[in-house]
Each structure stands twice: as C-alpha cells, then as structure tokens.
Amino acid sequence: MFTPVPNPTTKPIPAKFGEQDLIRRSASSVTPPAKRQTEVAKLIDVSKCIGCKACQVACLEWNNLTEEVGVNVGVYDNPHDLTENTWTLMRYTEYENAESGNLEWLIRKDGCMHCEDPGCLKACPAPGAIVQYSNGIVDFVHDKCIGCGYCIKGCPFNIPRISKADSKAYKCTLCVDRVAVGQGPACQKACPTQAIVFGTKDEMKQWADHRIKDLKSRGFTNAGLYDPPGVGGTHVMYVLQHADKPQIYAGLANNPSISPIVEVWKGVSKYVGLAAIGAFAAFGFLHHAVAGANRVTEEDEKNAERLTEGKS
C-alpha cells in the first residue's frame, strides 16, 4: 500500500502556490522564482488498473463537467476520445502476448502528461494562456485562451481539445486547485485499487521502482517507468508491464518530443521572418535615400504628346 494523501482539513487554507511560482508563461517571459517547489507527480500503474472508470467520473464530478451520452460501437472506451469535457479517458487494448500466450487487457488512463518541457505552452501565441508552475503542473488559463488550437499542434500526446461551446482549449489540470490546498487529484482520490497515486516526483519514482520489481518477479521482464526524457520527463508517469513497447498501450508515444516542425515554427522562423520583413523595409528606405524618387521628366511628357499628336 502506498500511503494515500490524507484527508485535509475542511477549514479554508491559503493556496500553497500561485502566480509567483510560475516557471513558464506562454508567449511571455517570467522571472523564475528563487526557489523551485518540490516537483509533484501522478503515477498511473497500468498493471493495477481494473478499468472501472471511477477516475473518469471523479474528474467530471470535481471539475463540474458533463459528457454527452455517446454511442456504443462495441468497445469499452467511452467516450471514444478525449473531449473538452473528458479530460481523462480510459483506453482499452486487448494485447496478445506472443511470449506468454496470454491475452492481456491493457487499460491506460489517457490525459495530459504535464511535460517538463510542454509543447502546448511553446506553441501558444496568447500571453499567459498556458502556465507552468514550479511544481511541474501545466495549466490552461481560460480567460486568456483565444481558441486558436496551436496547443494541439504543440502537444506530443494529442491531449488538448477545443470546446465547441466557448472555443477555448481544455485538458487535465492535474487538479491544480486541489493540489494547491494539499490534496491529491480527484482521479487519484477515487481510484479503488491505488493504480493512481500522487505525491512528490521522487516519491513516485521510488514507488514505481517497487512496483516494477514486483512486476519483474511475476515475469514481466520489460516492466518499467514511462517518464519520457524527450519532453524533459513528465509529471504524470506510467508503470507499464511492457515499457519497451509503449505504443501497444493504445498508441502511447514511444520516446515523444516536441515536433521539430513546431520547434522551427516557434523558434527560428520568428527571427528569420521578422528579420526578412525588416530587411525589405530597410532596403526600401535606403534605396529611396540613395537613388531618389524616379520622376517623370518634362521631356517624357513632351514625348508622349508628340507620340499622340503624330499618330492621330
């Protein structure tokens, strides 16, 4: 048993982190706080998940969201994909393990991974619409969101969704409002098997080690932690039975990183682009200063008159 986050006091307490703890702010710069808060993480142990969807329900409940009634197409995934209301989704995969001959039911709780190097934040053009706290939580600030969908292009995990109702982007907040007052995320609270645990990132890694040892002793030789270094590590991590093949878990990205296209678009293209525009404008001014205006002369007008008279 991992010691769960204890029930907090019911008395109001001040938030443990806020604006002053931002380490990244979209389309703007922040002065990083002198001291970084302890990094938090949510660990999702896929091997312990029973697919009950309590986490999905807890997420809707806590965040006061309602999902539309969907259509059953013969799979367990419900709804069929993440939406602006479904910030976390159980994805079910039936995996035939060729080595053991077993059919394994792999159930992955999909949602924002809270990357240390968030692609959504890098892509966002609206100042302050996406923020990253020093404890690792990446959050969307909806009154600053303009609904352009750039975060979707930046995200290596295909997580954010734009609401049809208010044209703003939504995703898992890692229950930033609960964590700020010392609670764990709603999904973690609701999980009946402790497949979801929450704590500091170091604690979670230790707990994962313990879980991985256990899995290895049961014959899952490739069991491991999913904390992809391509995005600087994440603040939502998975324990996978087959960490060598993350893609079998409903297409979990294998060694994800921010797309090089996004890096070029949000990096060098801005400088080269503005420099090119500036250079063309500067050439115009210089040329005019050096060459002077290209004026029509009296002689040109006379020639035109001669031409028209002569021909008429």
Partner: protein, 222 residues
C-alpha cells in the same frame, strides 16, 4: 509586330499633359478590397505569429476575435484576388523581353529606364509580384483551411496541421516581403499611385515606364 499589350479599359486622351486611362473603376475597387484585406491579414496574422506583436490583436477586438476574423478576411482576400487574377493575368504572361529587363536590374534600380527594353502594360518586376502573389495566396488559403480548426478541425491530422501552420507562416512572411516591394515600387516611381486611385496616369509616365503599352494604345485606340 507583336500583339498589342492593352486592356479593354485602357485609352489615351490627347492634351497637355496627355492622360492615359490605366485601370477601370471596377479594377480599382477590386484592387483596394484586396489591399485592405491583405493589410488586415498581415496585421492579424503577425499578431498570432509572434508574441512581440500580439498587441496588434487589440486592433481587432482582442485575441479571440482576431483568431475568429483572420480566416474570414482570408476568404475575402482569396475571392477578391481571384478577381484581380482573371482581370490581369493575360498581360502578365512572361515574355522574352521580360528576362532581358530582369537581367538589367541594376539599371532598373538606378532609374535608367532608357537602357532597358520598352515595357508593355506590366514590367518584369510587376509580373513577378503578380505571379508570386497568385502562388502565395493559393498556398495561404490551402494551408489556412487546414489550420482553420473552428470548421475543419476533424478533416486533418495533427501532423498535417503542424506542416500547414509552418507553411502558412513562412509563405505569409514571403508574401509580406513581396507586398513591401509592391508598395515601395509604387511610391518610388512617382505618378504611379494615381493609376490605382483615379485610374489615370500621365502620358509622360506611360512613355517613361511603359512605352510599349503607350505606343500600342496610340496605334490601336486612335
């Protein structure tokens, strides 16, 4: 003699100075709708392109409104430019003398037009602006639809949208550079702007810059 390089609305009026009709009222209206949309697109597009210009969203009523308006202005530009394209493309077809003109860019920039081949209604520079803008606007509307998530989010993959957004911004930058060339040329070559405001230029202007066009006009319309 090659075919006369004149449009239906062009004509010469004798006098002092000689006045030449260069653009019909319809062509001018068409041009200015295109011009206004292009400027609005550049401003709103640059606002979303770089955080240092995000303040430009204020001109359009904030970030969300800018995001909503930009693609619609793009549709206006595309339709309006299509009108210009069909009006102007015939006299913008490339000719051998255009290559000669272009190879003597030094004389062009120095204003030594007497050293250059006689030019029809459009010189090689104007033709290049015309064709490059035609191409860029086609690329911009196509890539723009791919990233117009409000209506087309479900028709394209995220990877396609990434490529489209990079192509869209890169093309827009080049198009803005071409626009600067276009505007600068109109300012530098004095007497040009009247062609797009009142539709008229002086005979001297036509003689100096588009002599073949003037000669063709005189022979065909008198």
């Amino acid at each position: 003699m090659s075919k006369p390089e004149v449009d239906a609305g062009d004509s010469v009026h004798r006098g002092n100075p000689v006045v030449v009709d260069r653009y019909t009222a319809a062509a001018r209206v068409n041009h200015w709708i295109t011009a206004i949309s292009l400027v609005l697109l550049a401003l709103s597009g640059l606002a979303l392109f770089t955080p240092s210009l995000y303040f430009l969203t204020g001109l359009f009523g904030g970030g969300s409104t800018t995001r909503m308006l930009h693609p619609w202005i793009g549709v206006v530009l595309f339709l309006s430019f299509s009108g210009l394209f069909f009006r102007f493309f015939r006299l913008n077809l490339w000719e051998r003398t255009d290559s000669i003109w272009l190879s003597r860019l030094r004389d062009v920039l120095a204003g030594d037009e007497h050293k250059l081949p006689e030019v029809g209604k459009y010189n090689a520079g104007q033709k290049m602006v015309f064709w490059s803008m035609s191409l860029f606007i086609l690329v911009l509307i196509t890539s723009g639809v791919v990233i117009w998530d409000q209506y087309f989010a479900n028709y394209f993959t995220v990877e396609q949208k990434r490529i489209a957004v990079l192509v869209h911004s890169g093309t827009a930058i080049v198009a803005i550079c071409v626009w600067i060339v276009h505007v600068y040329a109109a300012i530098w070559v004095r007497g040009t702007i009247g062609a797009m405001t009142r539709g008229k230029v002086t005979g001297g202007w036509a003689w100096r810059h588009h002599r073949k066009w003037l000669k063709d006009l005189v022979t065909t319309k008198h």
